[in-house]
C-alpha cells in the first residue's frame, strides 16, 4: 500500500464515520488537494486472499464542506468573525463506485488513501481497456480525452445515438457534427488485433444524410468559422483530428478532382423555388453551391411516394390507407412515359397500350389524355378516375370504397399538392433527385418547407436509404441519418409511416449499417422503441422537469441535477461500454454553425487577386 500512498495523486482518505459500501463512499479531502464533481478517483484496499490490492474506481458525485466541532449554526460567527472558537474547516466528497479490479465486490476500506485516477488508472476507471475501438469524443475537465466505443455505434455490438437537450443551449446538432467529423476524419482500429479493421477503414466511405430542419445552421459546414480559436485548435489536437471544415462538392462537379484526401466532403440540397421552372433554390439562402432537388411524376409513381403524402397521424384510418394503396397500384399499372419530357407521364389503361409500347417506353400523348408534369396535374387525373363529374368512378380505382372516404382522400391530396406544400417537389424535367453518393455528408435543407412537405422529404429519403441497404445486405459502408426534432417524426403518441420506418431502422438498422443520430428537446416525447435502441446517449442542458424523467435513468442523480446547468459545449455521454455517465467538453467546430460566424473568405480572395494583378502591372 505504501507504494500507492507515496504517489503524488493522493487527494485524501476514505471517511470512516459512516459505512462504505460497494456503491459509494466519502472522502475526506487533504488540505492541499481538492475533488470536483466528475473527477475520477481510485482506492486500493487489501482484501485477504487477493494477490494484489483491490482497486476501487469511482466518480465524484458531490463535493461538500463543513466545520468540524460546530454544534450550532451560529458557531460559524464565532469561528469566522472573532475567531474565538477553534474549528477545523474540511472538504469532503461523495464518490459513486464505478468499477472494481479484480471484480471482487468488496467495499473500499475506511481510512484508505484516495488517489486521483490519472493515466492508466483513469483509463481503467472509464473502461477504456474494455473498449473494442475507442474514439475520442471530447475532453474531460482535466483535458484528457473521453472515449466512445465505436463498436456500440456502428452496429458491431450496438448502434444509433440519441442526443437530448434544450434548444439553443444544448448544442445538439453541433455535437452531432463534431462527432461525425471525428468519425470520418480518423482511423480507429481494434486494439486487440493487428489486422486491418474493415469498419475502421470503411468509416471514410460512410454516407451521412442530414436534414436541416431549423434555420440555416447546417448550411455552413464548408465555411471556416470566425469563432474558432487557438484554444479550440489545441483541443482538436488532443483529439487527434486536423480541424478543417468539410469540403464542398456540387452536383455539377463532374471530376471531384479538386477534393483533398482525408477531409470529408459535403453536398447541399434544397427544394426548388415553387414559382420557377428553372432549378433555382432556396428563397432565403444567401449562399452558393446548393443544388435543387425534386422528384419527377415517374419517380413519384415508381417509388410509391404517394404514401408519404399521408404522414399525419390522423391519416392512418383504414379506409383511407386502403384507397391510397389502390390508387398507388393503379398509378403504377397505368402510367406511361411521355416522349419528349423527362419524367412526365400519361395514364393509360394497360389494355389500351400498343403492343410495341410495353413497359416504360415513351409514347406520344393521345388527344384527350392529360399529361402529368406535376402533382397538381396528377391529382386532377386521379380525380377523373375516382370521383368523375358525370359518370361512375372507375371500378379499378375505387372498388367498393365509400364516396366519403374518396372525398376525404382527394381533399387531402389536393391540399398537399399546392405549390406552397408539396407542389414544387414533384415536377417533370431533368433528373434531380438527391445523390447521396456525391459527398460524405448530404445536407438536405427542408427548413423553408411546409411541415407536410418536410415529412414527405424525410420519409422518402429514409425509405431510399433503408431500402438501398436492405437490397445490398451489406453493413458497410455505413449509412448515417441525422434527424433533429425526432419527436416530430417518431412521436411517443400516434402512428405514421415515418414513425414506423424510424422504428424499423432503430430495430433493424444496426445489422444493416443504417444508423440514426436523433436529436430532440425531450426524450420523453419520442417513441420508446426508437429511444431504447439507441446505444449511445448524449445530453446537453436539460429542462429541469425533463431531467427527472426515467428516460434519463442512465444518468447518476448528481449528473441529472447538473444537466440542468450545463453550458454550451458540455455534454453528458452514456454508452453501454461505460456504466457511468461521463461529462465532456467538445471544442468549437472549425466550420461556421451560424451565418454570422462565417469568415469573410471571398473578400480575402478578392484582395489576393488584386495584389497579384497589381504587382504584375508594376
Amino acid at each position: 500500500m505504501s507504494e500507492q500512498e507515496a504517489g503524488t495523486d493522493r487527494v485524501g482518505r476514505v471517511v470512516g464515520d459512516s459505512r462504505t459500501n460497494t456503491q459509494e463512499f466519502r472522502v475526506i479531502v487533504d488540505d492541499e488537494a481538492y475533488l470536483a464533481v466528475d473527477d475520477l478517483v481510485v482506492v486500493y484496499s487489501d482484501v485477504p486472499g487477493l494477490e494484489s490490492p483491490l482497486a476501487t474506481y469511482g466518480v465524484v458525485t458531490e463535493s461538500e464542506s463543513t466545520y468540524e466541532g460546530v454544534s450550532y449554526e451560529t458557531d460559524v460567527r464565532r469561528i469566522g468573525d472573532s475567531g474565538v472558537l477553534p474549528a477545523e474547516r474540511i472538504r469532503t466528497a461523495s464518490v459513486s463506485i464505478t468499477r472494481m479490479i479484480p471484480e471482487v465486490w468488496t467495499a473500499p476500506l475506511a481510512g484508505e488513501v484516495v488517489n486521483r485516477a490519472t493515466g492508466p488508472s483513469r483509463d481503467d476507471a472509464l473502461y477504456v481497456d474494455d473498449m473494442g475501438r475507442s474514439m475520442p469524443v471530447g475532453l474531460a475537465r482535466d483535458g484528457s480525452p473521453v472515449y466512445l466505443d465505436l463498436d456500440f455505434f456502428d452496429g458491431t455490438k450496438g448502434g444509433h445515438m440519441s442526443i437530448s437537450g434544450v434548444s439553443g443551449v444544448a448544442t445538439k446538432t453541433t455535437f452531432a457534427f463534431f462527432f461525425l467529423r471525428m468519425l470520418t476524419g480518423g482511423s480507429y482500429k481494434r486494439k486487440t488485433t493487428d489486422d486491418h479493421d474493415m469498419i475502421g477503414h470503411s468509416l471514410q466511405n460512410t454516407r451521412i444524410l442530414v436534414f436541416n430542419v431549423k434555420g440555416q445552421d447546417l448550411l455552413w459546414l464548408d465555411k471556416p468559422s470566425l469563432e474558432f480559436s487557438d484554444i479550440d485548435r489545441e483541443m482538436w489536437d488532443k483529439l487527434g483530428v486536423e480541424p478543417t471544415p468539410f469540403q464542398l462538392v456540387q452536383a455539377s462537379d463532374e471530376s471531384q478532382a479538386s477534393l483533398k484526401p482525408n477531409i470529408p466532403s459535403v453536398s447541399f440540397w434544397a427544394p426548388p423555388r415553387g414559382d420557377s421552372s428553372v432549378d433555382s433554390v432556396l428563397p432565403n439562402a444567401n449562399r452558393t453551391g446548393v443544388t435543387a432537388f425534386y422528384w419527377t411524376p415517374r419517380e413519384f409513381i415508381d417509388k410509391g411516394l404517394l404514401q408519404y403524402v399521408f404522414t399525419d397521424a390522423s391519416d392512418s384510418r383504414n379506409q383511407l390507407q386502403f384507397l391510397l394503396e389502390r390508387v398507388q397500384a393503379q398509378l403504377r399499372r397505368w402510367a406511361v412515359n411521355v416522349a419528349g419530357t423527362n419524367g412526365a407521364v400519361v395514364l393509360r389503361h394497360p389494355s389500351e397500350r400498343e403492343s410495341s409500347q410495353e413497359g416504360n417506353k415513351a409514347v406520344a400523348p393521345r388527344s384527350g389524355e392529360q399529361q402529368i408534369h406535376n402533382l397538381e396535374e396528377m391529382v386532377s387525373v386521379v380525380r377523373s378516375y375516382i370521383d368523375p363529374d358525370d359518370i361512375d368512378p372507375h371500378p379499378d380505382w375505387v372498388g367498393s370504397i365509400e364516396r366519403g372516404t374518396v372525398l376525404a382522400f382527394l381533399r387531402r391530396l389536393e391540399a398537399a399538392s399546392r405549390p406552397n406544400r408539396l407542389g414544387s417537389l414533384v415536377r417533370s424535367g431533368s433528373q434531380q433527385s438527391i445523390n447521396r453518393d456525391l459527398a460524405t455528408v448530404t445536407v438536405v435543407d427542408i427548413n423553408s418547407l411546409h411541415e407536410l412537405a418536410q415529412r414527405f422529404v424525410v420519409g422518402v429519403l429514409l425509405k431510399d436509404t433503408f431500402e438501398e441497404k436492405e437490397e445490398t445486405g451489406k453493413r458497410t459502408p455505413l449509412s448515417i441519418i441525422v434527424l433533429d426534432e425526432m419527436n416530430k417524426y417518431a412521436p411517443a403518441q400516434g402512428e405514421s409511416p415515418i414513425k414506423d420506418m424510424l422504428i424499423d431502422i432503430a430495430q433493424r438498422g444496426r445489422s444493416l449499417g443504417v444508423l440514426l443520430i436523433g436529436a430532440q428537446q425531450s426524450a420523453s416525447r419520442v417513441a420508446p422503441d426508437v429511444m431504447e435502441n439507441a446505444s449511445i446517449r448524449v445530453a446537453g442542458r436539460l429542462d429541469p422537469a425533463e431531467s427527472e424523467r426515467n428516460q434519463y435513468g442512465w444518468m447518476l442523480p448528481s449528473t441529472r441535477a447538473r444537466a440542468k446547468l450545463l453550458k454550451p459545449g458540455t455534454m453528458v455521454l452514456g454508452q453501454p461500454a461505460v456504466p457511468l455517465p461521463v461529462v465532456l467538453n467538445f471544442p468549437r467546430t472549425p466550420w461556421a454553425t451560424r451565418a454570422e460566424e462565417r469568415a469573410a473568405e471571398t473578400d480575402t480572395d478578392l484582395f489576393e487577386n488584386l495584389d497579384s494583378s497589381l504587382s504584375e502591372d508594376i
Partner: protein
C-alpha cells in the same frame, strides 16, 4: 521460569459508578483559613469596579486545559494476597488553543492524550504481565497509597503534569496572554494566568466582597493577594451580563503567581478584562455560560473525543484481560 508475581490474576471490576465519569477537581486546594491581603492595589474602602486601559492589544491568546476519564477499575489478586487490590485504568488529555488575534482565528495547537494504569503502592508493574497491552496501549503509574482516592489523585496529578508541560512548551512573548483552566500552580511558568469559573470559595469579606457582584462588563475588581505556601495575586472580572440573575453570575476569578510585579499583574488583569468576555459563550449555548469560555469548551470536547469511545475502550480492555 516461575515468577510468583506474574501469577497474579487481573480482572475487571464488574461495576463501578465511576466508569466513564469525567472528573473535575480543579478548584479545591485552598484551606478556609487562607489569609487575604485586599489592599495591594486599593484599600478596602476604596474598592470599586475598575475600567482598564490596555497598553497594547495582545497578539496571541492561549488557552490550556486538561481532562481525565476513569475507564475501569481493575482488581489484582496476587498469590500472596488475601483480598484483591484495586488499580485504575484511566485516560488523561490536555491541549492548547491558540487564538491568533491578527488572523482572528483559533486552532488547536497541541492535543496530548495518555492512557494510564495507576497501580496502588506496593504492586509492581510485572503484576500486569499477562495483560496484552498491544490491544490497548497504556502507561503505568503508581499512587502514593492504595485507597481509591489515592488512585484518583495520581490520575489528577498526571493531568496536571500534562497541562504544565504544555504551558512550558508555549513560546511566550511579552504581550501575549496564557490562560490555564483552573488554579495556577507552583510549577506553572509565571506567565500563566489561572481562570477559575466557579465562585464556591469565598476569599473576600466586607466592602470588597460587596463590590464583586457590582462590577459591570468591562470592569474588574482591584487586585488582591492570596497568601499561603504558594502566594498569588487574584482579581475578579465579569465575563457576561446576565439580566435577572444574581450579581455573582457571570463573574470569574483569575490568579497569577505572586512572583510577578504589580505592573505585570495589572497588565494581565487588563487583558483578561478586555478579552475574556469576547470568549464567553452566549447563555443559550452552554449550561455553564458565560463562565465556560468558548475555546476551553471546544478544547474539552476535542480532548474528550480524542480519548476514544468509552464503550470501545472497555471492550478492548476485557479482550486484553480475558482473551489472553
Amino acid at each position: 521460569m516461575v515468577n510468583p508475581v506474574s501469577k497474579a490474576i487481573v480482572s475487571v471490576s464488574a461495576w463501578d459508578p465511576g466508569y466513564g465519569t469525567n472528573l473535575d477537581f480543579k478548584d479545591f486546594g485552598d484551606s478556609d483559613s487562607v489569609e487575604i491581603d485586599d489592599s495591594v492595589e486599593y484599600i478596602a474602602r476604596d474598592w470599586r469596579g475598575i475600567e482598564t486601559a490596555l497598553p497594547s492589544d495582545p497578539l496571541d491568546i492561549f488557552f490550556i486545559d486538561g481532562i481525565q476519564r476513569i475507564e475501569a477499575r481493575l482488581e489484582i489478586f496476587g498469590e500472596n494476597d488475601v483480598v484483591p487490590r484495586s488499580a485504575l485504568l484511566g485516560a488523561v488529555g490536555a491541549g492548547v488553543v491558540h487564538w491568533d488575534r491578527r488572523l482572528m482565528k483559533s486552532r488547536f495547537k497541541e492535543l496530548l492524550h495518555r492512557r494510564l494504569v495507576v497501580l496502588p503502592v506496593g504492586v509492581t508493574p510485572e503484576t500486569l504481565g499477562s495483560l496484552d497491552s498491544s490491544l490497548l496501549p497504556f502507561e503505568i503509574r503508581h499512587s502514593k497509597g492504595s485507597d481509591f482516592t489515592d488512585l484518583q489523585d495520581a490520575m489528577q496529578k498526571q493531568m496536571s503534569e500534562l497541562e504544565v508541560s504544555l504551558a512550558k512548551s508555549i513560546d511566550y512573548e511579552p504581550g501575549s496572554l496564557v490562560i490555564a483552566d483552573g488554579r495556577v500552580r507552583r510549577d506553572h511558568p509565571v506567565f500563566v494566568v489561572g481562570y477559575i469559573k466557579s465562585n464556591e470559595r469565598q476569599y473576600l469579606s466586607g466592602k470588597p466582597a460587596e463590590v464583586v457582584p457590582e462590577i459591570k462588563l468591562g470592569q474588574r475588581t482591584p487586585i488582591f493577594r492570596i497568601e499561603g505556601s504558594f502566594p498569588r495575586f487574584s482579581w475578579y472580572i465579569r465575563v457576561g451580563d446576565i439580566s435577572g440573575g444574581h450579581g455573582w453570575q457571570g463573574i470569574a476569578r483569575l490568579e497569577v503567581s505572586a512572583e510577578l510585579s504589580m505592573d505585570e499583574v495589572a497588565s494581565y488583569a487588563a487583558m483578561t478584562t478586555e478579552y475574556l468576555p469576547i470568549a464567553a459563550p452566549p447563555l443559550h449555548l452552554d449550561p455553564r455560560a458565560p463562565q465556560n469560555l468558548i475555546p476551553i469548551g471546544a478544547l474539552e470536547r476535542e480532548l474528550r473525543r480524542g480519548l476514544g469511545d468509552a464503550e470501545l475502550v472497555n471492550r478492548k480492555l476485557r479482550e486484553a484481560v480475558y482473551m489472553r
